[in-house]
């Protein structure tokens, strides 16, 4: 962990020195490999404090059922997935793999446990050891102790846990980062064109003041995009 605080500063400092572009490009694979951050794709990398998801952290995505929460949670996987990281999806009954492919998730490295029966937390814990990002949709409000255990495990393994919380079943513990869908509107023509999601993003501490953004998710190609 000796390099941790330095990297942490580097990632969050808005006044970080700029490197010549060619040098930055050559450094990139190395810093990524060591990084405590999992990369985010469009539009999140410009909207999330630090531009990525910190390993070992828990992210909560809140939305009313049917209003884009699942698409949002899955869209957080794209950049990491494209970089070769594994992801797991637990408790999402009928994941739309076509939609995931459109979003840019590399389906070859995704493990699905659609119906964990009573054992969603245990399945999540099993998968945490093997994947870099894990999307979990608990079937009901998670018990405090279960949430605590999972978050501890996530911190220990350096995974990113993305909890999809719908129908008011809030995650019982504070998360490092939260996405709350506050509004969802479809743009239509002769078909569904795009959905405009209003999302309140909040992190922890100074850098994490809540900000509301409007993003397009999905756009007409099924991808997440800035407006």
């Amino acid at each position: 962990m000796s390099g941790y605080s330095y990297e942490h500063m580097f990632v969050f400092s808005s006044a970080r020195p700029t490197l010549p572009r060619d040098l930055a490009a050559s450094l990139r694979p190395l810093t990524l490999a060591k990084s405590r951050m999992m990369p985010l794709g469009e539009p999140w990398k410009a909207l999330v404090p630090g531009g990525g998801l910190r390993r070992g952290s828990t992210v909560v995505v809140e939305a009313a059922p049917g209003l884009g929460g699942l698409s949002l949670a899955l869209s957080l996987l794209t950049a990491s997935s494209a970089n070769g990281h594994w992801a797991g999806v637990v408790g999402v009954d009928d994941p739309g793999v076509v939609a995931m492919a459109e979003l840019g998730v590399d389906l070859r490295r995704v493990l699905f446990v659609p119906r964990p029966r009573g054992a969603w937390a245990e399945s999540a814990a099993d998968l945490l050891d093997g994947v870099d990002l894990l999307v979990v949709r608990p079937p009901s409000r998670a018990a405090h102790g279960v949430a605590r255990k999972l978050m501890d495990r996530v911190r220990e393994r350096g995974t990113v846990l993305i909890v999809l919380s719908e129908s008011g079943a809030a995650w019982p513990l504070p998360a490092e980062l939260s996405f709350v869908v506050t509004d969802s509107r479809w743009a239509t023509s002769s078909r569904l064109e795009a959905r405009y999601l209003s999302v309140r993003i909040a992190g922890r501490g100074e850098a994490g003041r809540a900000r509301e953004h409007v993003v397009v998710l999905p756009n007409r190609r099924g991808q997440a995009a800035a407006t």
Binding site: L67, G68, S71, V98, A99, R109, W186, G222
Partner: protein, 359 residues
């Protein structure tokens, strides 16, 4: 001769050095094939499709033309000229004039065309000296006279002018099919499942170990992976299969065939749920024999008690199958409900099924 709809897309008629024309042409051909599986790319810029089947399904030639026009605009962003006539030769001419030649009127249409339409300047010039200006007057020359006055190419042109041949030599780019096939081959993924056949890294081993743990806990069918099989587009045949199971046999239809244009629903029901769609008088809205809805959908009934107002709908779009041959009709409908949720319905055998949720 078959009644054809011809599409002339000027913007795709000449090749760009970066190969984008060919790629865009293939994309458009694939999109048109969703409307009619017998769509053809005759040469760059010129597409044709037989009109009889689709117009019966979609409820008329105008409906087909509207969908085709929208498809071209959606897929390529370019304008398209549409024309209808019998045979490729006349259909192309009709497209350039943006004309729908009435059934049975192709002869008259063809005969009125100037000789230049045959694409041979020398022939046109010679005919002018003889006082012949239209295809009709050229067609009326006796075959023997054409043979003695013109070269052998003229005999073939004469047959086209008489309506005995449906297309000109050279109207079709014979190399194009091969080039498209090659391009498609590059695009198509090989059979693969979850990187199992790729090189394994440390991350893969770790993931497999975790997958084993879940299987031990929940059973062999609890842990699924996406199976990507070759298809028209990479996503075409993506399904979920138990991890470690052999590849799904071709012909096993996925519940989600992925044939509706993007965006695709984030939830796709492996077991579709029967729903009812009614108009404002609570009369069921059904798919008619001509692929049209029997009424304006006003309410979606998910169960007996859950009624949701329909704010907007689009479709129905047919499923890619040779429906007019097989007699099997399925069509998709996109619906936006009162609280802003969007769902995907499919109509089959007089019933509606919820197959996807854009959640």
């Amino acid at each position: 001769m078959e009644r054809l709809l011809a599409l002339w897309v000027e913007a795709l008629s000449s090749e760009e050095p970066d190969g984008s024309t060919l790629r865009d042409s293939l994309t458009l051909l694939d999109a048109l094939s969703l409307l009619c599986p017998f769509s053809e790319l005759v040469r760059l810029g010129l597409y044709i499709l037989p009109l009889r089947g689709p117009s019966r399904f979609f409820g008329g030639e105008e409906a087909v033309m509207k969908m085709v026009r929208e498809t071209v605009r959606d897929v390529t962003g370019h304008e398209v000229l549409l024309g209808v006539a019998d045979g490729v030769f006349c259909a192309e001419l009709a497209a350039r004039e943006q004309r729908v030649v009435a059934p049975g009127a192709t002869d008259v249409f063809r005969r009125a065309q100037p000789l230049e339409a045959l694409g041979r300047k020398d022939l046109a010039t010679t005919c002018r000296r003889l006082g012949l200006y239209t295809l009709g007057s050229f067609a009326d020359l006796e075959v023997a006279r054409v043979g003695e006055r013109f070269n052998k190419h003229a005999l073939e042109l004469h047959r086209v002018a008489r309506g005995e041949l449906g297309e000109l030599v050279g109207q079709r780019d014979l190399r194009l099919a091969v080039r498209l096939g090659r391009l498609r081959g590059e695009r198509e993924p090989h059979h693969e499942q979850l990187g199992l056949f790729g090189p394994r890294g440390a991350g893969d081993e770790r993931a497999f170990a975790a997958a084993h743990r879940v299987r031990r806990r929940l059973g062999a069918d609890a842990l699924l992976v996406a199976s990507l099989r070759g298809g028209r587009v990479p996503e075409d045949r993506a399904t979920l299969v138990p991890w470690g199971s052999p590849l799904v046999e071709e012909g096993t239809k996925a519940p989600w065939p992925g044939q509706i244009r993007s965006p695709s629903p984030a939830t796709t029901l492996a077991h579709p749920v029967a729903v009812r769609l009614v108009d404002q008088h609570d009369t069921p809205v059904l798919m008619g024999a001509r692929g049209m809805l029997s009424g304006e959908p006003a309410t979606l009934l998910l169960t007996h008690y859950a009624r949701r107002t329909v704010l907007w709908h689009a479709g129905p779009w047919p499923l890619v199958e040779r429906w007019w041959v097989l007699g099997r009709r399925r069509a998709y409908l996109q619906v936006v409900l009162a609280l802003g949720e969007a769902v995907l319905l499919v109509a089959e055998s007089g019933r509606w099924w919820l197959v996807g949720i854009y959640d």
